[in-house]
Amino acid sequence: MIQRVAIWLSYLGALLLLPLFFDSVLAISIFNQMAIAIVFALSYNMLLGQGGMLSFGHAVYFGLGGFLAVHALVMIEFETVYFSVVLIPLVGGLIGLLAAVFIGSFSTHKAGTVFAMISLGIGELIAASSLIFVGFFGGEAGVSGDRTYGPPFFGIEFLRDVEVYYLAAFWVFLATLFMYLFTQTPAGRMANAVRDNPERAEFIGYSARRVRYISFCAAGFFAGVAGGLFALNYEFITEENLNAATSGRVLLMAYIGGLGYFIGPIIGAVILTLMNSLLSNFTDLWMLYLGILFVLTVLFLPRGFAGFIMMHQVAWIRGKLTTLAIPYLLTGIPAGVFAAAVIAMVEMSHSESDAFNFLGLSLDPGGALSWLLMLVLASASLFATRSSLPQLRAAWEGANSLPGDETE
């Protein structure tokens, strides 16, 4: 119990203190994106990770929530309604909930492929409709509002990004807490049970459909909250925010982070936001790297980064984690060099300039020397990685086996 409170307090602390350490405009804008992504990815995990519902259309709830939130901003501006903009995420959440209540009433009948296909169909349907109904969705240009016209909230008018950050941090903390608490309730636990075995759940008194429906509505609500945060942060929203690409991105985030663990999507949201905003400054190929990262994750880390961390639980409990450090370095360093050399070659083949700087090395795409160097480096490090694998495997087994296991 104390441990749990400590974790939540440090989460709150991190949220509050981050802008003190990184206070550049870029950093604050990244934190705001992260906040939105965290809520969105966690809500997606309520569907796929906790409830076993693979959705290809989760952006619908994010987007609809966001659109209504922007419209609400406009209404506040023209004094059609009167409330503080701090409540905007709640507006988004209610719209997301409303959409989920309606769509979930027929889409949660089955999980699996049928659910995935309905979510895809609904997603495409709404994304396409948004381009037709220009009055509400604003067509390609989207709709925009202004968050600063509302009644000041204790003197804060949200002119500065950092003020928006603290507002977002408040909502993120609240949303995270409530989503966690949901997993600890009968409805949340039965969502896991229905994910594992919908048939058996029906024989212990629960309608699998009803259980899915509740999770689905909750996920819609929190996706809408994320959409509301998006509206508040960017003050505009377009069709792109409810189409298949956004739905795909949230799947990537949750999966890379690790579906089976509550913290997984948070990790995924942080990694992807950082890649998005930092990597894109260095290379326009970052989406390619993201695709490679995703496919590799599905192939080799099916439980994501969080799963990779949790794999070490046994070794940690047995106090053998330190025995893994050297083997990890022996494999990790050549593997890292290999990845860097491959990336260097990819960048060279794509580069239009004469020479560029890569990790402190000056590479010339036109020169044979650069290519030769990278090729040798790549093959040597690949060889080193491969030959280091047996010792890693042995060390892993050593760290995870019981003292008596060797005799078996």
Binding site: T185, P186, N192, N197, I204
Partner: protein, 250 residues
Amino acid sequence: MTLLSLRQVHKNFGETAIIRGVDLNIEAGERHAIIGPNGAGKSTLFHLISGLHHVSSGEIRFKGEEIQDKPPYEISRLGMARSFQVTNIFARLNVFENIRCALLWPEGLRYSFWHLLGRQDPLNEKTLAVLEQIGLADKMHYPAGELAYAQQRALELGIAIASGAEMILLDEPVAGMSHSEAEQAVDLIRRVTQDKTLIMVEHDMNIVFEVADRISVLVYGEIIASDTPAAIRANPKVQEAYLGEVVSGA
């Protein structure tokens, strides 16, 4: 008092008639075994009673209420629990959660998303008691999918009995167990189904005669005899249809 009654129950899959006019009465407190050769329709009969399949025609009453058109979860809420022939547990949840889930509805928590499970003391105490009963208390933090086969069977049984349902349907509870494991399981079944009404499908005749106080013989979708174990053993029709070969082979 008659707890469960079947009247002229028929079930067809396409053209094939699997259950052909079954009449059956189960009294409260009875330990009833259904036996019969492979393909006689025993599991189908269980599926019909528990709501997994629906009858083609006929009537099933449980506690006087018609249940033949109800979904499994409504029948379960009336106080009927069942286990499965093929282990059917929540593989990624741990053993404790498996049992706790089975207790949620009977404890009145329904679809609540405003109660925290950790705060439900009676619920958690009952869960632990069931775990003690089925002998899995020391494994309660293991994911159910990682248990050994016999332990998974015990958990399968535990999920069925946890709710404290008045009527329990067990579909081949000791299938695939070794002799000693089966003996332990039978002990367990006896203990946990005291004061309950039990219907079980079982192939092992020793266990059937040990546990049941009434036996029905199902052959090609029809019940050809329903009587006490002694009378069933003596029934020439039964011996001809089914028992003879098993008894002589045993």
